[in-house]
Structures are given as C-alpha cells and as structure tokens.
C-alpha cells in the first residue's frame, strides 16, 4: 500500500515514511486515549463509591438521543473509511464527497447534542449558580458534572474533527494534495475521526446506559 506514496524530507524510503506517519498518529491517538481514559476511570471509581447515586443520575440522561448519536457517528465513520479507500485509489471527487457526507453527519450529531443540553437545562442537570437543583444534590451531582465535562470535551474534539476533515476534503478537491501520492492527509484525518468515534462508543455506555 505504500508503493504510490510521494516521498518527503527527512525520509529515504516510501515504506519508512508511511510507517512513520501511521506510527506517529497512533502514538498521538494513544495520548488522546489516556486523556479520555483518565476521565472514564474517574467516573468508574465514583460509580464504585456511590453506586445508587450514579444510577439515579444516569436515569436523567437522554438515552434515545445518545443512542441516535451513536448510530450517526458509526455511520459517519463508515463514510470516512470509504473516503480513505477512494483516496487510495486516486478518486478525488469520491473522496471529497465521502468526507463531506461524514461531516454532514457530524453536524447532525452536534445539533442533537445541543438539543440534549437544552433538555438537560430544562431538567435541572446544569449547574446554575444560585439555583440549586434537587437532581444535582449529593454524589449524583458528581456523576452529572463528569458527564458534562466528558461530552463537552468530546464535542470539542468533534469540532476539531470537522475542521480537519473539511481541510482534507478541500485540499484534495482543489488538487493541492495529489491522490494517491498524498493520500496520507485523508488517512490521518480519518484516523482522528474514527478515534473520536471510539471515544463516544465508550461514553455512551458509561453515562447513558449506567442506569443500574
């Protein structure tokens, strides 16, 4: 798969360069995994300490929005994977089209997330200074706040992912990156997007499905 790669400094061989690109991205994604992993560990530890309160809090989550969003993200990942496949075969337009499709699904995800936050506000899950909410009392509040941090951070990664995919699609479409020689730009953007998907795959059961 590396025979078509365009060589750049400081590399001497195609295979070496392609391996280095993938290795670098995997290391980067491993650091991202440690970032979210630490948060998930913390959530799990609180769940061990306060099982009832966590289950209680999880029952306030919008399970069906979460489920729909999981499906949307998994589908967007399929689009990205097809885009990478097209890029490796040098199909400029198909690649850009697939990436655009994934981005559209990403926007739907974020819109649903926004609606969900609105519902959370209505239900008194959000911390509002001066308005203590009964839902947030006691250890349940810890679980709810971890949910906000985790999903907000994930949404931030989604936004970065949209920018990354958008840039890759534009570069490919305008011919600034030539396929398949520079397909690496699509591959790397794709890896990032898939990883953000994987994070959600874990956030979904940890927060939405933990209703005891």
């Amino acid at each position: 798969m590396s025979e078509y790669v365009t060589l750049r400094e400081p590399y001497a061989a195609r295979r070496q360069q392609s391996d280095a690109d993938f290795l670098g991205m995997y290391v980067f994604l491993a650091t991202e995994a440690m970032l979210f992993g630490a948060l998930m560990c913390l959530t799990f530890l609180y769940r061990t300490q306060h099982p009832q309160a966590s289950a209680l809090a999880a029952q306030h989550m919008q399970l069906w929005i979460g489920a729909a969003n999981t499906g949307i993200l998994l589908t967007s990942s399929l689009f990205v994977a097809l885009g990478v496949l097209a890029a490796r075969h040098g199909q400029r337009r198909t690649t850009a089209g697939m990436l655009a499709g994934a981005m559209a699904l990403g926007v739907v995800f974020l819109t649903l997330k926004g609606i969900e936050y609105g519902l959370d506000y209505r239900d008194g899950l959000m911390p509002v200074i001066g308005h203590p909410s009964p839902v947030r009392q006691g250890p349940a509040g810890l679980f709810i706040d971890l949910y906000f941090v985790a999903t907000a951070l994930h949404a931030l990664h989604m936004i970065v992912g949209l920018v990354v995919l958008g840039t890759a699609a534009t570069l490919v479409l305008r011919g600034a990156k030539r396929l398949p020689g520079q397909a690496v730009v699509v591959e790397m953007s794709g890896l990032y997007w898939h990883f953000v998907d994987v994070v959600w795959v874990f956030l979904f059961p940890i927060f939405y499905l933990a209703r005891g």
Binding site: A20, L23, T31, L35, L42, F148
Partner: protein, 542 residues
C-alpha cells in the same frame, strides 16, 4: 585529537550560519536550531524560578521570616515549583540536548516530524507566557501540587491561568515525546540496530514513553480542576461526596513518572560522559539500557507513595511501598555499572566527567533517601517535611541539573564549535558539588527534626540548620552563574574545537563542529557497537 589545522566555525558552512535572519531562526525546522531556541527559553525560565528559590532561602534565614508576608512566601515557593518542574526540569535535557543529538546519534537528517518539532516549541512558549502572565499579575498560592479543595475553592491566586499554561506546555511535551519515539523507530541509519544505540538514545526513548502516556492524564486532571474552579462544577467537591484523594491519584499518576522524565535523560547523559571520560565501552550495556526501560515501566506503578498518610488505604500503601522499593533496583544497577565502567579505563578528569561523577554521587544519596520515604513507618514521620524537600532536590538538582550541566560541558564544542576554558569548568563542577551539599544536606536533618515544608516561619530551634542551608545556596548561586559567564565568553573567544575534541565515540562526533545543516554529508552506515573504544574492542571486531 587531530593534528590538522582547525577551521574556525565561521569559516565553514554549518547550521549556525545557514541563515542569519530572525525568520531563519523562528521558522526553522532544523532540529539543531530548535534545540537552541529551547535552550534560550528554558535558561530564561530557570532564572525566573531561581529568583523564587532565592526569596525562599532569604526568608528562612530567620525563624520569623522578615522578608515576605505569608502570602508572598506561598506565592514564591509556588512560582519556584511550577516553573522549575514544568518549564525547566521536564523540557531541560530532552528538548535541548535530546532534540539536538538524537538525529545526530542515530545518523538521521532530522526528527521524524520537523514541523511538529517547531510547533512544539511555540506551544511550549505559549504555555510559558500564560504562566508568566499569571506570575506577574500576582502569582499563585497553592503549591505546585494544586491539591483540591484548596486550589478549587479556597486559594485566591491566578490558579486558572497557571493550570492553563501547564496544560498547554504539556501538549508540547507530548509532541516532543511522539517525535522521539517515531524517530528512534523509523529513522535509524543503516546498520544502527537497537543493540548499537547509544544509551543516551535508550534513555530518551524511555522518557518519551512516559511523556506520551502520563502527560495526558495530567492534562485531564487540570482540565477537571479548571472546570471545578471556573465553572463551579462539582468534580472533587467533598461537600457532596466528592473524593479529593482521587484528584491526588490522578495527579501523582503523572507527577511521579514526571520525576523519571527529569532523571532518565540525565542518566543517559551520564552514560555518555562516563564512557567518554574512561575511553571505554560501558560496563554491561544491555543492563543499563534495560534499566532505563524498567525505570520507565515500574515508575508508573509507584505513585501512591506520595499518599501514605493522605487517607489512602494502608493496604494500597503497602503495595505502593513494595513497588517503590522495587524501582530502586534498576537505578542501583545503573550506578554500579557506571562505577565499573571506570575500572581499567583511561580516565581524563575533564569537566564533563566531573559533572558525571557528581551526578552519580548525589543521585545515590538522593535515591537511597527516597527509599526511606518509601518505607511506610519512616514516611509517616518525614512526609511533607524538609526531608522530602532534601530528597527530591538531590534527585532533581543534584541529579537532573548536574546532568544538564554535564551535557552542556560535553556537547558545547559540538553545538557551537568552540571550546570553553576547562579549568573554569572544573572549578564550577567542584563548587556545585560543595554548594549543593551545603544547601540540601542540612534539610535532611531539618526534616527528621520535624520541620514541615512550605513554612514561611518556623520554631527557633531550626534556625542554625536553615542558615547553613541559605549559606550553601549562595555558593550554589555563584556556581551556576560561572558556566553562564565562560560559555558566553567562549562564543567569541574560545578556540575552535574540531570535530571530536574529547576523542569520544558516537556518530555525532564524526560530523564537523558545528554540524552542517543536514547533519551528515552522507548518511553513515554503522558497523560497530556503541562506545567502540580501543580498550574494550573485542578481538575480531577490528
């Protein structure tokens, strides 16, 4: 040494005179120039943090502390800790000497991702500016450990700006570590097998693993702290059942391995200094190389020894105590191997080796006192006292800073093409050893007597030892200024060094000093092990 007439650095094209505009420095992707950028930045941060140290030692001259208010003192030691840990010690050796030397040592043109390397410098400086802003605006009073709920609900300094700065600088660490890992895996010259890598590269590889896997956990911990303080979320809030100990677990999961981020590169430096000083292959190459990996690995399993008296379960305490004692074994292996390397060598007591020997001595003392802290019953007495302060300064100043200065004295001719006056180098090494012990040995005694750390005032019976420590600090101050003076002097007036002034082995000495822009005229082919000195060259190797 070669008898050929030496060219001065100016007469030959090198990375230094490949461009003279500011743009050619600030937009460079040359790992050697980026290393210089780092060197300038961290020297600046070291000076800032040293001011904090000076304030601390002046305040503690008298039991009642006349110089600073309590608030002022709290801000001074927080400044000292935060800047030293994140803006000097962690980037000190990897981002300067590691950056400069790893491609040279493995026979590569550059790091795997040169532009990422430059980006990492800008991120580092960005984080530094955030932190400096907070310090100029009034500082922080939480200590570098940011324990909740003090940092989230009670402290009134610029906590948010500082933790933002640290988090940003953390991403710089991650990118550097990533770059090193990929470089070592993918850019080794033909014939440079893992078994032929210099130990400096091994220890930086181990360091990079820690950087990459531990730093994100710190980032998340600080993000949570940020959310709790800025957005009033409840993450560790004990009033609704939150557990501040979980903050400590997450914090030390990074911050204990961070100690190994500081010391492992210094160990790599010492392996180079000792072998070059003895003109001999390192004793037990594989043991020293694997000890680096073992330290990096087991170093992740010991963080709980910072929490023996925190309310952590005594059973978890026992596990952490045992693992902490275990991590001492690979460190001991290294120390014994370095000592044995000198046996039957052809020793030249130049400044680099003197720094290397100072490192070994101080690190041994510091490491063994660390074992005392790992012993449950002793820690229960000396935890959070000056005993701990003395211990980690022996590791970080006696160890990491000595390693940093040793590296500077060893590779200065390679980096600049100029020699510094060796006599002054020997004097400064001696002064540092003396001043260091005078400053920090009394602190062991203070700690066992029961003086807690982070005290602006203290009971009068501790005064004699505190004055002794402050006196030592002034010697140390002179010893640190000296190299700055003669290194600067040598930039214009030092004699030309030549490619290999120490007669050392290693690919970096085969290229001219300072090296050309692309490191080597031709990518070298390696057919020998590291440290291939005549004394230990096996028959048949030649």
């Amino acid at each position: 040494m070669t008898a050929l007439p030496l060219q001065t650095p100016e007469e030959r094209v090198s990375y230094l005179n490949a461009g003279h505009t500011l743009r050619s420095w600030f937009l460079t992707t040359d790992h050697k120039r980026i290393a210089i950028l780092y060197l300038v930045a961290i020297t600046g941060f070291f000076a800032v943090a040293a001011v904090g140290a000076a304030l601390i030692r002046l305040q503690l001259m008298t039991p009642t502390g006349e110089l600073l208010s309590h608030e002022g003192y709290n801000r001074a030691f927080t400044l000292h800790g935060v800047v030293m840990v994140w803006f000097f010690l962690i980037p000190s050796i990897p981002n300067t000497f590691g950056n400069f030397l790893i491609p040279l040592m493995i026979g590569a043109k550059d790091l795997a991702f040169p532009r990422l390397n430059l980006a990492s410098w800008y991120i580092f400086v960005g984080g530094g500016i955030f932190t400096l802003y907070a310090l100029i605006a009034g500082g922080v009073d939480t200590g570098w450990t940011f324990y909740t709920p003090l940092s989230t609900m009670y402290a009134n300094g610029h906590v948010l700006a500082v933790i933002a700065g640290i988090t940003i600088a953390g991403f710089s660490s991650i990118l550097t570590g990533l770059n090193f890992i990929v470089t070592v895996h993918k850019l080794r010259a033909p014939g440079m097998t893992w078994g032929r890598l210099p130990l400096f590269v091994w220890s930086h590889y181990a360091t990079s693993v820690i950087l990459v896997l531990a730093t994100p956990v710190l980032a998340m911990t600080l993000i949570l702290l940020f959310a709790e303080r800025a957005l009033r979320l409840a993450i560790f809030d004990p009033s609704i059942g939150g557990d501040p100990l979980l903050f400590q677990h997450l914090f030390w999961f990074y911050s204990h391995p961070a100690v190994y981020i500081m010391i492992l590169p210094a160990m790599g430096v010492v392996s180079e200094l000792v072998t070059a000083g003895a003109r001999k292959r390192v004793f037990g190459y594989w043991f020293v190389a694997c000890a680096s990996l073992a330290i990096a690995g087991v170093g992740f399993l010991v963080w709980g020894h910072h929490m023996f008296v925190s309310g952590q379960s005594p059973y978890a305490g026992a596990i952490f105590s045992f693992l902490s004692l275990a991590v001492a074994v690979p460190s001991a292996v290294k120390v014994y191997n370095w000592t044995a390397t000198l046996y039957k060598g052809e020793v030249v007591l130049d400044p680099p080796l003197l720094y290397g020997m100072a490192f070994v001595g101080l690190f041994t003392i510091g490491g063994l006192s660390g074992l005392m802290l790992a012993l449950l019953a002793i820690d229960e007495h000396v935890h959070d006292t000056y005993f701990v302060v003395a211990h980690f300064h022996y590791i970080m100043v006696g160890g990491a800073v000595s390693g940093f200065l040793g590296a500077a004295h060893f590779w200065w001719p390679k980096i600049t093409g100029r020699m510094y006056p060796l006599v002054w180098g020997r004097i400064s090494a001696g002064l540092i050893f003396l001043g260091f012990n005078l400053t920090f040995f009394p602190q062991y005694l203070l700690g066992y007597l029961g003086m807690p750390r982070r005290y602006p005032t203290y009971p009068p019976e501790f005064q004699a030892l505190n004055v002794l420590s402050s006196a030592g600090a002034s010697v140390l101050f002179v010893a640190y200024v000296l190299p700055l003076v003669y290194f600067t002097w040598s930039l214009r007036n030092g004699r030309a060094a030549g490619a290999n002034p120490w007669g050392a082995s290693g690919l970096e000495w085969t290229t001219p000093s300072p090296p050309p822009k692309h490191n080597f005229e031709q990518i070298p082919v390696v057919d020998r092990p590291a440290y291939d000195y005549p004394l230990t060259r096996a028959r048949g190797d030649e």
